[in-house]
Protein backbone atom coordinates (compact mmCIF):
# COMPACT_ATOMS: atom_id res chain seq x y z
CA UNK A 1 0.00 0.00 0.00
CA UNK A 2 1.72 3.22 -1.14
CA UNK A 3 1.66 6.60 0.57
CA UNK A 4 -0.65 8.19 -2.06
CA UNK A 5 -3.31 5.55 -1.48
CA UNK A 6 -3.01 6.00 2.31
CA UNK A 7 -3.45 9.77 2.00
CA UNK A 8 -6.57 9.30 -0.16
CA UNK A 9 -7.92 6.85 2.39
CA UNK A 10 -7.32 9.31 5.25
CA UNK A 11 -8.88 12.14 3.24
CA UNK A 12 -12.04 10.16 2.36
CA UNK A 13 -12.34 8.87 5.93
CA UNK A 14 -12.14 12.37 7.39
CA UNK A 15 -14.64 13.76 4.84
CA UNK A 16 -17.16 11.05 5.81
CA UNK A 17 -16.41 11.75 9.50
CA UNK A 18 -16.96 15.46 8.85
CA UNK A 19 -20.40 14.77 7.34
CA UNK A 20 -21.38 12.59 10.31
CA UNK A 21 -20.08 15.16 12.81
CA UNK A 22 -22.11 17.90 11.06
CA UNK A 23 -25.22 15.71 11.30
CA UNK A 24 -24.51 15.12 15.01
CA UNK A 25 -24.08 18.85 15.54
CA UNK A 26 -27.47 19.48 13.91
CA UNK A 27 -29.07 17.10 16.39
CA UNK A 28 -27.13 18.33 19.42
CA UNK A 29 -25.14 21.56 18.90
CA UNK A 30 -23.21 21.24 22.18
CA UNK A 31 -21.93 17.75 21.38
CA UNK A 32 -19.45 18.77 18.67
CA UNK A 33 -17.87 22.19 18.27
CA UNK A 34 -17.60 23.95 14.90
CA UNK A 35 -13.85 24.27 15.44
CA UNK A 36 -13.46 20.47 15.55
CA UNK A 37 -15.51 20.07 12.34
CA UNK A 38 -13.44 22.78 10.62
CA UNK A 39 -10.17 21.19 11.78
CA UNK A 40 -11.28 17.75 10.55
CA UNK A 41 -12.23 19.20 7.17
CA UNK A 42 -8.92 21.08 7.02
CA UNK A 43 -6.91 17.89 7.58
CA UNK A 44 -9.05 16.04 5.00
CA UNK A 45 -8.46 18.71 2.34
CA UNK A 46 -4.74 18.90 3.21
CA UNK A 47 -4.40 15.16 2.90
CA UNK A 48 -6.21 15.14 -0.48
CA UNK A 49 -4.01 17.96 -1.84
CA UNK A 50 -0.81 16.24 -0.68
CA UNK A 51 -1.97 13.05 -2.32
CA UNK A 52 -2.63 14.92 -5.60
CA UNK A 53 0.82 16.55 -5.48
CA UNK A 54 2.51 13.19 -4.88
CA UNK A 55 0.53 11.59 -7.73
CA UNK A 56 1.70 14.26 -10.23
CA UNK A 57 5.38 13.94 -9.27
Amino acid sequence: MNITYQLWFISLTLIVACGLLTALQWFHPALVSREIISATLGVAIGSALLSLILTKK
Binding site: V16, A17, L31
Partner: protein
Protein backbone atom coordinates in the same frame (compact mmCIF):
# COMPACT_ATOMS: atom_id res chain seq x y z
CA UNK B 1 -15.45 -6.66 -4.29
CA UNK B 2 -12.38 -4.56 -3.57
CA UNK B 3 -14.37 -1.27 -3.81
CA UNK B 4 -17.00 -2.64 -1.44
CA UNK B 5 -14.25 -3.60 1.00
CA UNK B 6 -12.70 -0.12 0.74
CA UNK B 7 -16.07 1.53 1.39
CA UNK B 8 -16.62 -0.50 4.54
CA UNK B 9 -13.08 0.32 5.70
CA UNK B 10 -13.66 4.06 5.18
CA UNK B 11 -16.96 4.02 7.10
CA UNK B 12 -15.44 1.99 9.96
CA UNK B 13 -12.43 4.33 10.14
CA UNK B 14 -14.79 7.37 10.08
CA UNK B 15 -16.79 5.99 13.00
CA UNK B 16 -13.56 5.31 14.89
CA UNK B 17 -12.41 8.90 14.20
CA UNK B 18 -15.75 10.27 15.48
CA UNK B 19 -15.57 8.11 18.63
CA UNK B 20 -12.03 9.41 19.19
CA UNK B 21 -13.04 13.07 18.64
CA UNK B 22 -16.12 12.90 20.91
CA UNK B 23 -14.33 10.71 23.47
CA UNK B 24 -11.45 13.18 23.75
CA UNK B 25 -13.93 16.05 24.24
CA UNK B 26 -15.24 14.30 27.38
CA UNK B 27 -11.78 14.17 29.00
CA UNK B 28 -11.05 17.87 29.80
CA UNK B 29 -11.67 19.04 33.35
CA UNK B 30 -10.84 22.06 35.51
CA UNK B 31 -12.11 25.52 36.35
CA UNK B 32 -14.68 27.12 34.04
CA UNK B 33 -15.73 30.75 33.63
CA UNK B 34 -18.98 31.93 35.19
CA UNK B 35 -21.18 34.86 34.17
CA UNK B 36 -22.47 37.61 36.45
CA UNK B 37 -25.32 36.68 38.77
CA UNK B 38 -28.57 38.17 37.44
CA UNK B 39 -32.27 38.14 38.17
CA UNK B 40 -34.60 36.29 35.79
CA UNK B 41 -34.94 39.44 33.63
CA UNK B 42 -31.17 39.57 33.01
CA UNK B 43 -30.43 42.49 35.37
CA UNK B 44 -27.22 41.98 37.34
CA UNK B 45 -27.39 42.10 41.13
CA UNK B 46 -25.29 44.88 42.75
CA UNK B 47 -21.70 44.11 43.75
CA UNK B 48 -19.93 45.86 46.64
CA UNK B 49 -16.55 44.74 48.07
CA UNK B 50 -16.83 41.50 46.03
CA UNK B 51 -20.15 40.71 47.73
CA UNK B 52 -23.10 40.26 45.42
CA UNK B 53 -26.41 41.17 47.05
CA UNK B 54 -29.30 38.96 45.92
CA UNK B 55 -32.69 40.60 46.45
CA UNK B 56 -35.01 38.22 44.57
CA UNK B 57 -35.93 34.58 45.16
CA UNK B 58 -34.26 33.52 41.90
CA UNK B 59 -30.69 34.38 40.94
CA UNK B 60 -29.30 33.03 37.68
CA UNK B 61 -25.82 32.62 36.20
CA UNK B 62 -24.16 30.66 33.38
CA UNK B 63 -21.18 28.33 33.59
CA UNK B 64 -19.28 28.27 30.29
CA UNK B 65 -18.33 24.64 29.70
CA UNK B 66 -15.84 23.70 26.99
CA UNK B 67 -17.22 20.18 26.55
CA UNK B 68 -20.52 18.26 26.35
CA UNK B 69 -22.31 17.63 29.66
CA UNK B 70 -22.15 13.84 29.34
CA UNK B 71 -19.84 12.19 31.93
CA UNK B 72 -19.32 15.47 33.76
CA UNK B 73 -20.18 16.85 37.19
CA UNK B 74 -20.13 20.47 38.31
CA UNK B 75 -18.36 21.44 41.52
CA UNK B 76 -19.41 24.83 42.93
CA UNK B 77 -17.65 26.61 45.79
CA UNK B 78 -18.64 29.99 47.22
CA UNK B 79 -19.00 32.02 50.41
CA UNK B 80 -22.32 33.53 51.45
CA UNK B 81 -24.11 35.45 54.16
CA UNK B 82 -27.69 34.13 54.53
CA UNK B 83 -29.12 36.97 56.71
CA UNK B 84 -32.77 36.08 57.42
CA UNK B 85 -33.20 33.45 54.66
CA UNK B 86 -34.53 30.09 55.85
CA UNK B 87 -33.49 28.00 52.84
CA UNK B 88 -30.95 28.53 50.08
CA UNK B 89 -30.48 26.08 47.23
CA UNK B 90 -28.85 25.83 43.82
CA UNK B 91 -29.77 23.78 40.74
CA UNK B 92 -28.85 23.28 37.09
CA UNK B 93 -31.53 23.53 34.38
CA UNK B 94 -32.67 20.07 33.27
CA UNK B 95 -34.84 20.56 30.19
CA UNK B 96 -36.45 23.13 27.89
CA UNK B 97 -38.92 24.32 30.57
CA UNK B 98 -37.49 27.58 32.01
CA UNK B 99 -37.96 26.55 35.67
CA UNK B 100 -36.79 22.93 35.40
CA UNK B 101 -34.35 23.01 38.30
CA UNK B 102 -34.02 20.49 41.08
CA UNK B 103 -32.25 22.58 43.74
CA UNK B 104 -29.76 21.14 46.21
CA UNK B 105 -29.99 22.89 49.58
CA UNK B 106 -26.73 24.40 50.80
CA UNK B 107 -28.19 26.31 53.75
CA UNK B 108 -31.08 25.66 56.10
CA UNK B 109 -31.59 27.99 59.06
CA UNK B 110 -31.82 26.44 62.51
CA UNK B 111 -34.61 27.43 64.90
CA UNK B 112 -32.27 29.60 67.00
CA UNK B 113 -30.54 31.69 64.32
CA UNK B 114 -33.15 33.86 62.62
CA UNK B 115 -30.71 36.40 61.22
CA UNK B 116 -27.20 35.19 60.42
CA UNK B 117 -24.66 37.76 59.29
CA UNK B 118 -21.67 35.39 59.54
CA UNK B 119 -19.89 34.35 56.34
CA UNK B 120 -20.57 30.70 55.49
CA UNK B 121 -18.78 28.51 52.93
CA UNK B 122 -20.48 26.06 50.60
CA UNK B 123 -19.17 23.30 48.37
CA UNK B 124 -21.60 21.36 46.18
CA UNK B 125 -21.34 18.77 43.44
CA UNK B 126 -24.07 18.45 40.81
CA UNK B 127 -24.08 15.68 38.15
CA UNK B 128 -24.44 17.23 34.67
CA UNK B 129 -25.04 14.26 32.34
CA UNK B 130 -28.84 14.73 32.29
CA UNK B 131 -28.82 18.55 32.14
CA UNK B 132 -29.60 20.75 29.17
CA UNK B 133 -26.83 22.68 27.44
CA UNK B 134 -27.04 25.79 25.27
CA UNK B 135 -25.56 26.07 21.75
CA UNK B 136 -22.47 27.82 23.20
CA UNK B 137 -22.05 24.88 25.63
CA UNK B 138 -23.00 26.97 28.67
CA UNK B 139 -25.31 25.61 31.35
CA UNK B 140 -27.91 27.57 33.35
CA UNK B 141 -27.49 27.57 37.11
CA UNK B 142 -30.06 29.07 39.49
CA UNK B 143 -29.83 30.04 43.16
CA UNK B 144 -33.18 29.74 44.92
CA UNK B 145 -34.25 31.18 48.24
CA UNK B 146 -36.82 28.48 48.98
CA UNK B 147 -37.14 24.89 50.23
CA UNK B 148 -35.96 22.24 47.76
CA UNK B 149 -39.48 20.96 47.10
CA UNK B 150 -40.95 24.43 46.57
CA UNK B 151 -39.65 26.32 43.54
CA UNK B 152 -40.27 30.03 44.08
CA UNK B 153 -42.32 31.81 41.44
CA UNK B 154 -41.10 35.39 41.30
CA UNK B 155 -43.37 38.14 42.63
CA UNK B 156 -41.21 41.30 42.86
CA UNK B 157 -43.82 43.20 44.93
CA UNK B 158 -43.84 40.76 47.85
CA UNK B 159 -40.30 39.41 47.52
CA UNK B 160 -38.29 40.07 50.70
CA UNK B 161 -35.28 37.97 49.72
CA UNK B 162 -31.92 39.34 50.92
CA UNK B 163 -28.65 37.42 51.02
CA UNK B 164 -25.11 37.89 49.78
CA UNK B 165 -22.58 35.75 47.93
CA UNK B 166 -18.88 36.05 47.00
CA UNK B 167 -15.96 34.03 45.61
CA UNK B 168 -18.09 31.89 43.29
CA UNK B 169 -15.98 29.28 41.46
CA UNK B 170 -17.07 26.47 39.13
CA UNK B 171 -15.03 23.44 38.13
CA UNK B 172 -15.97 20.41 36.04
CA UNK B 173 -14.82 16.87 36.77
CA UNK B 174 -15.30 13.43 35.26
CA UNK B 175 -18.40 11.62 36.50
CA UNK B 176 -19.44 8.13 35.42
CA UNK B 177 -22.98 8.61 34.07
CA UNK B 178 -25.79 6.34 35.21
CA UNK B 179 -27.86 4.31 32.74
CA UNK B 180 -30.77 6.74 33.05
CA UNK B 181 -28.42 9.70 32.45
CA UNK B 182 -27.19 8.01 29.23
CA UNK B 183 -30.82 7.41 28.22
CA UNK B 184 -31.72 11.08 28.87
CA UNK B 185 -28.66 12.28 26.95
CA UNK B 186 -29.38 10.08 23.90
CA UNK B 187 -33.05 11.12 24.03
CA UNK B 188 -32.03 14.80 24.07
CA UNK B 189 -29.95 14.18 20.90
CA UNK B 190 -32.75 12.36 19.07
CA UNK B 191 -35.42 14.91 20.05
CA UNK B 192 -33.12 17.86 19.26
CA UNK B 193 -33.91 19.31 22.70
CA UNK B 194 -33.29 23.07 22.84
CA UNK B 195 -33.33 25.77 25.48
CA UNK B 196 -36.50 27.78 24.86
Amino acid sequence: MKTWHQGVSIIAASLAAIALIIGSSVLPYGQRAVSQIENIHGVSYPVEDDLITVTEALAHFDVYLQEPVIAKKLHLTFDFIPFAEDHLGVGVRENSFWLSYEPQLFYQAGSSDKKTTALHSASLTIPLSDKIQERDRSIDVMFMAAPANHLPLPDPLTDTTYWQIKNLHATVEYDKPSTSAWRDFIRSIIRRERVL
